[in-house]
Symmetry: C2
């Protein structure tokens, strides 16, 4: 379980981006316009999410489309289940 994953999840803007991508895949611009911060700042957040492998990208002409990498989320769930999901100890 990589450190970059948890750091990526620590920012509320990035979690909001992930929730947007739950609904449907979106381009960087479509994502950016949902936030009151500069485009470049959102792009930076997208880079963090990508580095953590939480999202994947695909170029479509001028656009770059972002999608959730659901595999990694399953790993997150498994992380919590195995380590902390058990019975409370004495």
């Amino acid at each position: 379980m990589d450190d970059s994953l948890f750091r990526a999840l620590a920012d509320p803007t990035r979690r909001k981006i992930l929730e947007l991508l739950t609904e449907k895949d979106r381009t960087a611009g479509e994502i950016a316009e949902q936030f009151p911060i500069a485009f470049a700042s959102v792009s930076h957040h997208l880079g963090v999410l990508k580095a953590a492998d939480l999202v994947a990208t695909e170029r479509e002409g001028q656009f770059i489309r972002y999608r959730l990498n659901t595999t990694v989320f399953q790993e997150v769930v498994r992380y919590f289940m195995t380590r902390f999901g058990g019975e409370p100890h004495a």
Copy 2:
């Protein structure tokens, strides 16, 4: 889902503390001696974990015993399951 929760999980020392508490409840001192950083720094991390409600404390004489709050972990799992655990979309 509170912001403090994800920020608390973002630090590797704090995640290590949580894993130690999975094995058994421990006092602040028992936890601190597992790390190469100053006692007071570990105490600070414990405060962050407590503020996020990831751990609970109980005084035992001179000692303060820490235990996992497993309820919150179940909430974390539920968070990921409901938002990101579904089928990949088209």
